[in-house]
Symmetry: C2
Subunit: 335 residues, 2 copies
Amino acid sequence: MRKIFILIILIISSCTSQKQTKGKSTFGIVIHGGAGTILKKNMTDEMEKMYLRQLEEAVQIGFQIIKNDGNGREAVEKTINYLENSPLFNAGKGSVLTSEGTVELDASFMEGKSLNAGAVAGVKNIKNPISAAIKVMTSSPHVMLSGNGADTFAKDQGLEMVDQSYFITERRSKSLERAKKIDEDNNTSFYSKNELVNYRIGTVGCVVLDKNGNLFSGTSTGGMTNKKWGRIGDVPIIGAGTYANNLTCAVSATGWGEFFIRNVVGHDISALMEYKGMSVQDASRQVLDKVAKLGGDGGVIAIDKNGNIAMEMNTSGMYRAHIDANGKLTAKIYK
Amino acid sequence: MRKIFILIILIISSCTSQKQTKGKSTFGIVIHGGAGTILKKNMTDEMEKMYLRQLEEAVQIGFQIIKNDGNGREAVEKTINYLENSPLFNAGKGSVLTSEGTVELDASFMEGKSLNAGAVAGVKNIKNPISAAIKVMTSSPHVMLSGNGADTFAKDQGLEMVDQSYFITERRSKSLERAKKIDEDNNTSFYSKNELVNYRIGTVGCVVLDKNGNLFSGTSTGGMTNKKWGRIGDVPIIGAGTYANNLTCAVSATGWGEFFIRNVVGHDISALMEYKGMSVQDASRQVLDKVAKLGGDGGVIAIDKNGNIAMEMNTSGMYRAHIDANGKLTAKIYK
C-alpha cells in the first residue's frame, strides 16, 4: 500500500514537473507582410512561391534565435530586417513612394515586460527603420522621433544609412505614376477608397513570445503610395500598430492606418484580454470588427503569453507565417 | 379615487420628463494648462492670479458655446485657441524651444460619436495647431500629418500662418539657455529626470460634453524644452494624450509624454470604464498609478457621458478649471 502511495506521488510530481517545463519553454513567432486585396486570380504561381519562400525564410530567422534561448528583441529585429531588405514588401527597400517620389519610413517596437517602446516616423535614410526604433528605446530618453531629427539620431547611433535611391524600385515608381494618373483623372488631391485599399499593401510585422515568457512586437512600413503632407499612419503609433504587454499579448497590425489609429487597435486587443478575459483570437476578431464598422480594413497578428496566436483579417488576404514551439511552420497568403 | 390615480400618474410623468430633460441637457467642460512641479512657494500672488484668471476666461469661452447649444468641437477649439494665444502656457505662443531654438508644435483632437480624429506633429508655422488638427480630421483622408507637410496642408486650408518669432518669448529663451547649461555641466546630450520634470509644464487641453450628449477632446503643446531629433510626445498620439469615445469619456493628458505613450493613457481610461465598469475618476486614478509605477508623472482631465469629471494628477500641481451644467466654476492650481 505504501509503495503504491509513493508511486502515485512520483507520477503526480513527474506530471507537474513536465507541465512546468512545458509551460516555461513555450515560445513562438508570427509574422505578417501586409493585408489587403490579395486575390489568387491576380497572382502568378511564381510570385506566390516567392512570397511564401520569403515569409518562411523570415520567420525561420526569428524562430532559430528564440529556439536557441535568444532574446525576443533580437528575434523581432532580425526577422523584420530580412523583410525590410527584401524588395517584395512595403518596408525598407521596396517601400512605396510619396507624392514627391521619395520614401518616408515608419517603424515601432515594444517590449511586454517593461512596456518600453521606441518608434521612428518619416525617416528617409535609415536602411532598417525597425533597428532605429529599437535604438530610440534603448539609447534615448524618448519613445518617438521623427523626420530629419530621427535620421540624425540613427546616424549618431552608428546605424547603416543609405541614399534614397537604395529604397526605390521600378515596381513602386510605376505604382506612383498610376496613383498620380488617377488623381489627375479624378481632379482630386486626395485618394479614392480604391486607391487606399490597393496602395498600402505590404507593411511588415513580427510578434514573439520568447522562452523567458516575454512578449515583443515590431512593425515597419513605407506607408501609403502617393502620400502627402508628412502623413503618419498607425505603424509608429504605440497602442495602434504595435503593442506588447506581458499581462496579455503582443500585437502587430497592418491595414488602413487611419482606422487602426482611431480604434487604438493594439491596445484594445490587449484591454479586451486583460479586462474581459477574452482569448487573443476573440479579442483580435472583435477589434477588427470595430475597424470594419467604421469603414476600415486590414489585419493583425498576435501572440499571447501562453503561445496562443491570432492571424486575423477582414481583407481577402494577408501575407503571414507562424512557427510554434514544436517547430511547425505555417505560411499563408489568402484568407 | 380615479382623480387621485390620474394625479399620481401626472406627477410621475412630470418627474420622469424633468429627469429626462435634465439628463438630456447635462453638459460640462474641463480644461488643463499642464501638470508638474507647481509649488505655492515658487509662485508670486500676481502670477497665481494671472494663471487663475486666464484659466477662468478660457473655460468660460467653451462653456458659453455649449450652454448656448453650440457644438462641442467648436467649444474645444475656441477654448484651446485662447490658451494657445496666451504666452503663459506651453502651446502656440509661449511654447518651449527645441535645442535649435525653434518651436515644434504638436496637437490632436478627437470626437467621441464618430471616433474621428486629427493630429499634427512637429509643425512650425501654424498659429493654432489645434485648429490644424481639426482640419486634418475634417478636410483630409488622414488622422496624423507631420513636419513641413503638415504646415503646407494647414496653409492650403487657409489657416493663419505665422513666423517662428511669433511663438518665441523671452521666458522660454531663458529656459533653453538654462537647459543647455545643465547639459554642458553634466556633459550629456540627454536630459536628467529633473530637467524632464521641469521643462515640460504647460501643455493645454480641453474636454467637453455638449448638450447633444457628444464627447470631444483636444490637446496642444510645444513639447519639452531643449527637445532634439524631432521628438514627438503623447499629445498628438490618439489613444495616449487625447481620446474620446461616446461609450465612455473624453480624456486629455499632460505630463511626461513618454510614459503616457507607453501606458496608452487615454484609451486605457476608456477601456477600464467600458470593460470593467469603472467610474471616470477611478479609471483615471488607476491609469495614473500605472504611469507612476513605470516612473512617470503627470495628470489627466476627463469627462464622462453623464457629465462626471476627473481632474487627477500625481504631481504637486496642475493648472485646471471646470464648469458644470449649473454654471459652477472651479479653477485650481495645486493638488
